[in-house]
Amino acid sequence: MKTVLNCNKITMQFGGLKAVNEFSLEVTEHKIFGLIGPNGAGKTTLFNMITGNLQPTEGVIYFYDKPIVGLKPYKIVSLGMARTFQNIRLFANLSVLENVLTGFHHKLRYGIFDTLLRTPRFVKNEKIMVEMAFDLLESVNLQDKANAKASELSYGDRRKVEIARALATGPKMLLLDEPAAGMNPQETLSLMYFIEEIREKFDLTILLIEHDMKFVMNLCDHIAVLDHGVKIAEGKPEEVQKNPDVIRAYLGDINA
């Protein structure tokens, strides 16, 4: 099986604090990978390093065998990696449709002069982009709300728009930062099916951070556990669940 993402001993040092310490991970194609760990374990820092928002102080990251450390975040997106945020970050004053359309920006097929002169190329590509955006909205069941302002949507819908927007960039890999945060059990369940569905439909590899254990254990094929910046366990959900180190990290040491 092909390796999509390969983190090789990456370390992030903030002054005297090592937020992530020599972390290694191999994510294989078409799998859903879960990254769990207590608060402050360094999960989001790890995400930020993978997406290029932070530069690891040591180590290398390969995305489809291409080193991506040092690349600008928007460049990494154009290589096929998209992300969502822990606290949903939609473009609040844009419509749902426009939000999705921004995801096509890096593949834009017309230039400034096409824009100013409204050339056939501009008209054609705008039409294609709108159609593609509608297709994406349809796959998240939000085509009826295409013209609503993003800030007017419910929380669950906003999460879906954020994922649709990330899908618009045409990713091979999707990074979800706590997708189920703030959702009720019903919404969480439907999100689980939804993530399964888009993985099949768009042939995605998914890496996600999540606190909801039921969600992670049911959805993920493979789990890595992070504590104080160090990977303390990795494996199938049932293996990780039984790992004494993991239990200690979450519940504290009973013998201490």
Binding site: Y74, V77, L90, F91, N93, T102, H105, H106, E126, T169
Partner: protein, 346 residues
């Protein structure tokens, strides 16, 4: 052709018919106000592109307008005029001899300003938010100091006099309409969406694969181009320019306009420009001495600004998003509004 495009074209035709009527029948004073409205419309609309649409709060238009005004004026002045004017230090020879017609001079003014904007963009867009405002404010102040001291180019504090009054209603409104079309088309495209995305959440925009630096630069350079042209038009309207014309208050006036009109709304900017420029002429009477019954109030210069300040406070309290918010005027909503009123009347 779409129905709305036909409406827009006919609106532009009506505007130019009105200008044709105005150019023959209006007094010189009123024509001057109309010219002023057009020039400030160009300035405010392009300022709104960077401030309202792209959300980069910056304070540089006085600097850009100054560069445009000086460039255009130096290019249209004849060599003889220049040698007569530069009495402290003679002008640098290559500028002394150059001479151009009005239109190429305006375009060169726009291009020079756009180039300055491009260079300025590199340091400026390294910072965000308040810092951006401070850096661009510094640029505006620097341009004034530079124009005061590069005497062999700008004639220093004496300024440039005798600039041909070439700015007619056709030139000013022609450029205003062109600027509006270019800016509106830019906004209603993927570039515009990216600009608004940067305004709403820059980090999320980066995560969508948007090269935010390039997006900001596109808005900034477009804005600089039209501010340069507008500066050139202004120079050829008032025929005398000096560094004191381009103080921070120049920028402040534009800021009032775009805030009243609504940050991010071009049609709002158009309405606000008419209100503010024409309104400040109407309000001239408050600076005259007044007699109310037996009470005599001496004329207080600057009273108009007080009224504008009060107006701004009222707008900030009751309509925080300005007249139009981020919405644009559209023919559909225009007709819907009238239909609704008809229904109510029945």
């Amino acid at each position: 052709m779409k129905k709305n495009t036909i409406f827009t074209i006919s609106a532009i035709v009506v505007l130019f018919l009105f200008l044709l009527y105005a150019s023959h029948n209006f007094s010189a004073y009123n024509i001057r106000i109309l010219n002023n409205v057009a020039i400030f419309l160009i300035l405010a609309a392009s300022y709104n592109l960077i401030n309202g649409v792209t959300g980069q709060f910056s304070l540089e238009p006085n600097g850009f307008a100054a560069i445009g005004a000086y460039t255009a004026a130096i290019l249209t002045l004849t060599p003889a005029q220049k040698s007569a004017m530069f009495i402290i230090t003679p002008m640098v020879p290559w500028l002394q001899s150059v001479h151009m017609a009005f239109l190429p001079a305006l375009i060169v003014a726009g291009l020079v300003t756009a180039f300055v904007g491009f260079i300025l963009g590199f340091p400026v867009f390294r910072v965000r938010g308040d810092y951006l405002a401070i850096v661009t404010l510094g640029f505006g102040l620097t341009i004034r100091v530079v124009s005061n001291n590069t005497i062999s180019i700008t004639n220093g504090a004496l300024g440039l006099k005798g600039i041909g009054n070439y700015t007619t209603l056709w030139w000013s409104w022609g450029w205003a309409v062109l600027a509006m079309i270019v800016i509106m088309r830019l906004i209603n495209s993927e570039y515009g969406r990216a600009m608004k995305a940067v305004r709403d959440d820059e980090d999320a925009a980066i995560a969508m694969g948007i090269n935010t630096f390039r997006v900001k630069m596109t808005a900034f350079v477009t804005s600089a181009f039209f501010e340069g042209v507008a500066g050139g038009l202004l120079a050829h309207l008032i025929t005398t320019i000096s560094p004191t014309l381009f103080t921070f208050f120049f920028t402040f006036n534009l800021l009032i306009i775009i805030v009243i009109g609504g940050l991010g709304s071009m049609t709002g900017t158009a309405i606000a420009t008419v209100l503010v420029i024409w309104g400040s002429e109407l309000l001239r009477f408050v600076e005259q001495p007044m007699h109310i019954f037996s009470l005599t109030i001496p004329g207080i210069p600057g009273m108009r600004m007080v009224i504008f300040a009060i107006l701004l406070i009222i707008i900030m309290i009751f309509a925080r998003d300005g007249l139009m918010g981020q919405k644009e005027f559209s023919w559909d909503s225009f007709f819907k509004f009238f239909k609704k009123n008809k229904k109510l009347a029945k």
